[in-house]
């Protein structure tokens, strides 16, 4: 590890945890990622590159959840309507309900430009860009959504969204919406009569589309603002970046998570805001768990053969998220995050393009280099989540009470236990040479 932190001179004994040095750094208000200008540049650059496609992801996810809904042949689900492109972000832009972050509320200019021109740099009809695979890849965003849907009981009982989808109340809401949606379509209504569960299950999936869309609607402006602050020279260290995220998490924690469907302009509430589902408990925490930690084993690296036993028997044992993933095979068959990496490739800030040119294969393997940087940046986000949870549930870092400090220590140690698996990349990211 590049920076060796001395065990802080505090009232509690040194940690015996294998990742003690990182725990000390967290206790000192730092992140899992060493605080170097190079790391800061990489993570901020990646936030920017991530934010642009994310601006599309959340719009399209909400478009699918609210407009496309149960269309059995949703061939146009990635062709987002102008209405959703112009839709104001709830928390940034001039018309925001609550303006927390600067920036525009409608689609980011770089996103609009890319949607119009693509990498081909030609103003072709959308469908041609789509067919040429010159587009934002929604597939991985949907995979993240499926991951949140599929993994059960995450952060139970504080996350009530997951359980709500099994209640009769939810099914009654669905029933109402399904009947309205397929009004005048006897075939689908007949099918619904025959197999209601099939339709409820689709609705649950749609609710998660909405959930993830609402989650990312918040993250996109956060990342944009961080990039702007960095460009303005106002964000100068990795812990500062993390603190910004922690504040963002708190500021937005109470944002409602809901699922509305618009049928011929009329709004139907499948999950009303009045259920009290919040951004933090029903979206952010399950998202981090599902996407950063768990997801599903990649076909390209793990065998699904039941006898080989490479797929764990229980969901909490899944550990294939961004914090564990091997980034070197990105770009290879069977590695889904390649889709995200490719999306970010289009929007790298110039300083990162230059930076990658100087290392490894330069432009030849930018996609892998950026995937590694992305991994670093997500370690920073996870650090923010850990520190936010610590702040919310435990004690200040400068608490005087040794028992409180010990509780903090145990919390950090428990978090670090998750990175004791050999697959965890936490040790790799300590070194700048890992790229």
């Amino acid at each position: 590890m590049t920076q060796t932190l001395e065990a802080p001179k505090t009232k509690i004994p040194p940690s015996t945890h294998p990742l003690a040095e990182i725990i000390y750094r967290l206790e000192a208000g730092g992140t899992m990622l060493p605080d170097t200008p190079e790391n800061l540049m990489q993570i901020i650059g990646l936030y920017k590159a991530y934010a642009v496609p994310m601006d599309f992801y959340w719009r399209d996810l909400l478009y699918i959840a609210e407009q496309v809904f149960l269309n059995p042949l949703p061939w146009s689900k990635y062709f987002i309507s102008d209405e959703y492109l112009d839709r104001e972000n709830k928390y940034s832009g001039d018309n925001a309900d609550l303006r927390i972050w600067r920036g525009c509320g409608d689609a980011h200019p770089e996103l609009r430009e890319f949607m119009a021109q693509g990498e081909l740099k030609k103003n072709l009809p959308n469908i041609l860009h789509h067919l040429w695979h010159d587009r934002i890849n929604m597939e991985f965003a949907e995979e993240c959504m499926r991951s949140m849907l599929w993994h059960r009981d995450m952060y139970k009982p504080w996350n009530q969204f997951d359980g709500f989808l099994d209640t009769d109340e939810y099914k009654q809401n669905c029933d109402r919406v399904i009947k309205a949606y397929f009004k005048g379509n006897p075939a689908m209504l007949g099918l619904y009569k025959l197999f209601p569960d099939m339709f409820y299950e689709q609705c649950r999936q749609m609710s998660y589309y909405s959930n993830l869309g609402l989650f990312w609607e918040v993250m996109a402006p956060v990342f944009f603002e961080m990039s702007d602050l960095y460009d303005e020279g106002k964000m100068t260290s990795v812990p500062a970046a993390m603190d910004f995220l922690v504040n963002g998490i708190f500021a937005i924690a109470g944002r409602p998570i809901y699922h509305h469907v618009y049928i011929k302009g009329e709004c139907f509430e499948i999950i009303p805001k009045s259920k009290g589902f919040t951004w933090l408990y029903e979206a952010a925490l399950p998202y981090v768990e599902a996407v950063f930690y768990r997801t599903a084993p990649f076909r390209g690296t793990k065998s699904y053969n039941a006898q080989a036993g490479q797929v764990p028997d229980s969901q909490p044992d899944f550990h294939y998220g961004v914090l564990y993933a091997d980034k070197f095979p990105v770009g290879t068959a069977g590695i889904p995050p390649t889709f995200l990496a490719q999306d970010m490739l289009h929007f790298l800030p110039d300083y990162l393009v230059e930076y990658y040119k100087q290392h490894c294969r330069g432009e030849g393997d930018t996609i892998v280099q950026l995937a590694v940087s992305f991994q670093r940046s997500m370690y920073c986000v996870t650090s923010a989540v850990i520190q936010a949870l610590r702040a919310a549930l435990l004690y200040p870092l400068d608490d005087e009470d040794p028992e409180h400090l010990m509780a903090n220590r145990q919390f950090f140690e428990a978090q670090m236990d998750r990175f004791l698996r050999p697959e965890a990349r936490i040790r790799d990211i300590q070194s700048q040479e890992y790229r």
Binding site: L120, H133, D134, T301, Q307, A333
Partner: protein
């Protein structure tokens, strides 16, 4: 004069090869800034084009005599290697099925592999595969058949190796390649040996030759066995079945083709060679024996599998075993019917089970369950596929099995019984999987399992329609057994065997009183089935062990023995670079000078007698 569409039928492999070649553009090493999906669209389009051509040609060729033509390839010494094409309705039907299923598999792949970055490689290999199969079916020569089979072997290796970062994929690809290669190798021996005896490789001419051939039975037996080995490998018959199981590591759309079509090309060659094989009763009996062994063994193994893809790979071997029995006993019609009904039914079952795996993550049937209400389309597809394969009236499999049993009843009654028993076991096995996956209690893995998106559902529904309508199509084509002539008893017994298999499985796997997972009285027996009669270990301890040990021994012999003898005589150590050591400070010119001096020396030495004389 035949129709231009038939004349140009040789284009079928070319279409997809063009697609395969174009795919290279989207290899991620080449196209970096945009994604690889156009490769998939192009190949699917090419497949569809081939399908359209094949089906249109079939329309014109129906009820017409076969069209033969040759394309020159290589003429060397006394060997004429022109490619003979033999276009008859059967070949065109086969092409239509191949191209059609390929197209559907590619559409399925667009959905199934939507998160995969390896589209270019995957689709180009799929297209390569399709080209190989079309070429095999259209040409009329054992030699070119061999070439096609070899290309398919290579294709299997590469297609299986799509996810080459994954360790089991690598061993699977290796085993598939080597096992199939062993089959191909014997086939090559047969091909080489057949020519001097028969004087031709053309199936049609071989059939004519076989009618009057008078050959040494011993030679014919050896030859026949060698020729049989190729189809054995391709059809995944014992003991060359291992690859199909390991091939399950590969991507699903490839599995659809492998389980339904690729195994059939082995059957195709087998059927074509039947007249030659029939020259030796031993060979036919061997074929029957292997088929019967695979059918019984495979169905037992299938029942003990917990991996959903493997519960489908062994039944494939089983049905191919039935085809071997059919060909061995001369029931060609039954063999073809079995092939068709199996191809469609199996494709449907693979699609359905893969759709389940796609978003339920596990392939372990014991971890699945209770999906019927959420995923009725997948469930019904699986059920229809299974019914289309086993003998369940009125589906296709029933007529195929009936034809087979009818053919066996008089001549080989015990084989007829065996086929009926195998059918019951198949029905049992499929029902077991159906109960475990779609019925019963949900698990954590299946609590959130929505039906998949339309790219997968649509091809599934099309194939489901095909399976359901297969009997009508067959009856329209007049290839179904005549209901008036057949024994009603057989039909009843067959249907009864299926129903009893289904019923028994349903009772066992739906009854809450029987504890799951179901255990056989003997754990070792259960393991024997679960681990494929320990065939991998058997290989490891026999052939692989032999090759490994002999290569090690020979290599040490080479190092110590032969090399040692050479060194012992001391020439190497004598000089060991001392006297001829080059001077490190020397310039190039110096070396050239040495060489020139050397040459002068040799010249002088040569001229020495001359100088003497002078």
């Amino acid at each position: 004069m035949s129709h231009p569409l038939i004349q140009s039928i040789w284009l079928l492999p070319i279409y997809t090869l063009i697609g395969a070649a174009l795919s290279v553009i989207w290899f991620p090493g080449i196209t970096r800034r945009t994604g690889p999906r156009p490769a998939g669209y192009i190949n699917a389009l090419m497949s569809f084009l081939a399908f359209a051509h094949a089906s249109a040609a079939l329309f014109y060729a129906w009820d017409n005599p076969a069209v033969d033509f040759t394309v020159p390839w290589l003429q060397v010494a006394n060997l004429d290697l022109s490619i003979p094409f033999h276009i008859d309705p059967i070949a065109l039907t086969a092409c239509t099925v191949i191209t059609g299923l390929n197209f559907l598999a590619q559409v399925f792949a667009i959905g199934y592999l939507e998160l995969d970055w390896g589209w270019a490689r995957f689709f180009s290999l799929l297209a390569f595969f399709e080209a190989g199969m079309n070429f095999l079916v259209l040409n009329d020569s054992l030699f070119f058949g061999y070439i096609a089979l070899e290309l398919l072997t290579l294709g299997t290796y590469l297609l299986l190796g799509l996810w080459f970062n994954q360790s089991l994929v690598i061993t699977g690809a290796r085993d598939a390649f080597l096992t199939k290669r062993v089959g191909d190798l014997f086939l090559l021996m047969g091909v080489v040996a057949l020519l001097p005896i028969a004087g031709t490789w053309n199936y049609t001419e071989l059939a004519i030759w076989a009618e009057t051939a008078n050959v040494d039975p011993k030679v014919m037996t050896l030859l026949g066995l060698a020729l049989l080995a190729g189809p054995m490998g391709k059809c995944a018959q014992f003991p060359l079945h291992l690859w199909l199981d390991e091939a399950m590591e590969g991507p699903v759309p490839g599995t659809i083709l492998r389980n339904s079509l690729v195994v059939q090309v082995g059957a195709w060659v087998l059927v074509k060679l039947q007249p030659v094989l029939a020259l030796s009763p031993t060979v036919l009996n061997f074929a029957i024996f292997i088929g019967a062994l695979t059918a019984v063994g495979g169905s037992l193994i299938a029942i003990a599998q917990i991996d959903i893809k493997r519960t489908l790979s062994y039944p494939t071997s089983v049905l191919m075993g039935c085809v071997f029995i059919a060909v061995g006993t001369g029931n060609i019609q039954a063999a073809l019917l079995l092939s068709v009904s199996h191809a469609l039914g199996m494709a449907l079952m693979v699609m359905s089970s893969s759709a389940v795996v796609w978003n339920s993550v596990t392939q372990d049937v014991t971890q699945l369950g209770g999906l019927f209400s959420r995923r009725p389309i997948s469930a019904l597809s699986y059920a229809v596929g299974a019914l289309g394969v086993v003998a369940m009236p009125p589906f296709g499999g029933f007529w195929a099995m009936l034809q087979l049993v009818e053919g066996l009843r008089i001549t080989h009654p015990w084989l007829a019984v065996l086929v009926i028993a195998v059918n019951a076991m198949l029905a049992f096995g499929f029902t077991r999987v159906f109960c475990q996956v779609f019925l019963g209690q949900t698990t954590k893995f299946t609590e959130r399992s929505p039906e998949v998106h339309y790219w997968m559902i649509l091809p599934m529904m099309v194939v489901m329609g095909l399976v359901i309508h297969l009997p009508l199509v067959l009856s329209a084509a007049d290839v179904l057994p005549n209901w008036v002539e057949i024994s009603k008893d057989n039909a009843v017994i067959l249907a009864w065997s299926t129903l009893s298999g289904i019923g028994l499985a349903a009772v066992i796997y739906l009854s809450p009183t029987i504890s799951k997972p179901v255990k056989l009285p003997s754990q070792s027996l259960q393991d024997l089935f679960a681990y494929d009669f320990y065939t991998p270990q058997l290989y490891r301890n026999t052939i692989i062990g032999f090759v490994a040990i002999s290569s090690k021994l020979l290599s040490s012999f080479d190092r110590i023995g032969i090399d040692g003898v050479g060194n012992f005589f001391g020439f190497a150590t004598l000089f060991s670079g001392q006297s001829l050591k080059y001077s490190t400070s020397g310039q190039s010119q110096f070396y050239m000078l040495t060489i020139v001096l050397g040459l002068v020396g040799i010249g002088l030495w040569l001229c020495y007698p001359l100088l003497n004389v002078g």
